[in-house]
Amino acid sequence: MTVTTEGNLGTPAKTGKTAFKAERAAKRKDLIFAVGGLVVMAIAMTLLLTLIGDLVIRGLARVDYDFLTNFPSRKAARAGILSAWVGSLLVMLVTAFLAIPVGVAAGLYLEEYAKKGKLANIIEINVANLAGVPSIIYGLLALGLFVYGMNLGKTVLVAGMTLALLILPIIIVSTREAVRSIPRIIKEGAYGLGADQWQVMWNYIIPAARPGILTGAIVGLSRAIGETAPIITIGALTFIAFLPPPPVTGEFPFISFEWLNAPFTVLPIQMFNWVSRPQADFHTNAAAAGVVLMMLTLSLNGIAIWIRFRLRKAHRN
């Protein structure tokens, strides 16, 4: 009788001396792999910690109230990042507002509604590839399409639209993953009650996929907040000493969307600008802006982890 199996997770079962040798060889392989992995991880972590440490040592002392509330200035000691972080915030707002609904809808459509076939495959491959397109290409696209083609100017709106395009694939892919991970028996249970596709999606799939969708959205946003290349390409200003008009006004109708059409700068660009100056004091400013940017990114990621944890607990299965 012969038995053929494919794949063997244990050591090959043999007897006597060969068994001992085989076992020792397998243990040695495990050890080599574990040590190798540890070394690679240590190198990566050291590099990362060095970078962060360097930034913090050089910049942290510069981060104070004035730094956050001053406009940029020709004098390094008086320069701040007010217009930059407000710009970043507004651009993120537009990005989130555009990318999350569109990305989630696209992901749900592809996973639940689209007929599986050639077209779906082509779209799937394209979405996956879009996630890997260099960000400056998105900048060029936006420059051609939004700034010149649609004549929207170099505004907060255009920056938000550009970054939304950039993170759309991330949100689509993570939405699909989240939907795919919902147990089949939950979906069948809902259909078994006589729910139609819309009810199943709205009342069962979206709530169950929410942690994954939110995580993807925040991972996308924290990528967008650090992007520089596409924003420079569409022509963000590097020196702005005023804020966009406020969204709330004293006169009727009390809400204004003028800020969408305002010129802007963002944190990474402010950093880039300061780094390219010759004076060492500006380099300290750049490091300080870097610290702020990093804290923003880390807190976004922190929120993502917290949401995932909270919702997983509520949806634990």
């Binding site: 007929k115 979906k187 249970g189 809902a190 949806h315």
Partner: protein, 287 residues
């Protein structure tokens, strides 16, 4: 009859919560008095890859009786059950052939005019593994009503209670209706799933090996429940467990490799099987 008509009639029907005691007395177990609830006629089923899982099955399903489908793994018993509420429509490429007639209207559930969603509104299902939704106990039972657009709070409250009572899980859940359904034990979860199916007052209740994931005590409770429910609702149950079929069903169908080998009164099937295959199976020679 269009969609809105049927949905409206469903809503009207379930707006009056039905308790077991409100229903007309069960029909006497005299053979002459048995009424037909549904019948399969030359029913065939093909999966998307072309395999024929059900071969030319003719079978009656009696009103307010338990019909058990038994047979070895892969014989098509779950496939048959899932055909009754068009679950196979959720996946592309599957094909039904023949007729599944729902009485007394004589409507063909797999005919070109039948809408799978409407079929599932009328035929409830409980699955092999308890699958409560990640919601509260209350919302789980109310889910079927919400699907049907019932908004009236009192109606929902009453229906949730009566469904939980009918599923014999009210005493264990009445103090934590708004707690997570996942805090219940496996057996309680399965009875909750039965309550969920009962809440929308199905014409037929399908049970797909409802006790295979449960311990013997929880299994006994479900079996008692099935017998009690059969006074008021038509039940079709698929089971691996022959003793279970013998204990709780009135009719038994024995399937083998997609064929319906034998169908008859449960006593007859287990005591005097007519077909040698049936005999081999129930005496444990294969399966």
């Amino acid at each position: 009859m269009n969609i809105s008509d049927i949905q409206a009639s469903k809503t009207a029907e379930i707006s009056i919560p039905v308790d077991a005691s409100d229903l007309p007395p069960p029909i006497k177990p005299d053979a002459e008095q048995e009424t037909l609830r549904a019948r399969l006629e030359s029913f065939n089923f093909f999966y998307a890859d072309g395999t024929q899982a059900i071969k030319n099955v003719d079978m009656p399903i009696l009103d307010r009786k338990v019909t058990a489908i038994i047979g070895p793994s892969g014989c098509g018993k779950s496939t048959l059950l899932r055909s009754l509420n068009r679950m196979h429509d959720l996946y592309p490429g599957n094909r039904y052939e023949g007729r599944i007639i729902l009485e007394p209207e004589g409507e063909n559930l797999i005919g070109p005019a039948a809408n799978p969603v409407l079929v599932r509104l009328r035929i409830g299902m409980v699955f092999q593994k308890p699958n409560p939704f990640p919601k509260s106990i209350y919302e789980n039972v109310a889910a079927g009503l919400r699907v049907r657009g019932v908004k009236n709070r009192t109606v929902i409250d009453e229906t949730v209670e009566s469904a939980l009572r009918r599923a014999a899980v009210w005493d264990e859940t009445k103090d934590k209706l708004h707690g997570s359904a996942y805090d219940l034990s496996g057996g309680q979860q399965q009875r909750l799933c039965i309550a969920r199916a009962l809440a929308s007052n199905p014409e037929i209740l399908l049970l797909d090996e409802p006790t295979s994931a449960l311990d013997p005590i929880a299994t006994a409770k479900i079996e008692d429940l099935v017998q009690e429910l059969s006074k008021s609702v038509t039940i079709v149950i698929v089971t691996h467990n022959m003793q279970q079929a013998a204990r709780i069903s009135h009719r038994t169908a024995f399937m083998y490799l997609g064929d319906l080998i034998e169908f008859g009164e449960t006593d007859q099937i287990f005591k005097a099987p007519r077909h040698p295959r049936t005999e081999n199976y129930i005496t444990g020679r294969y399966g």
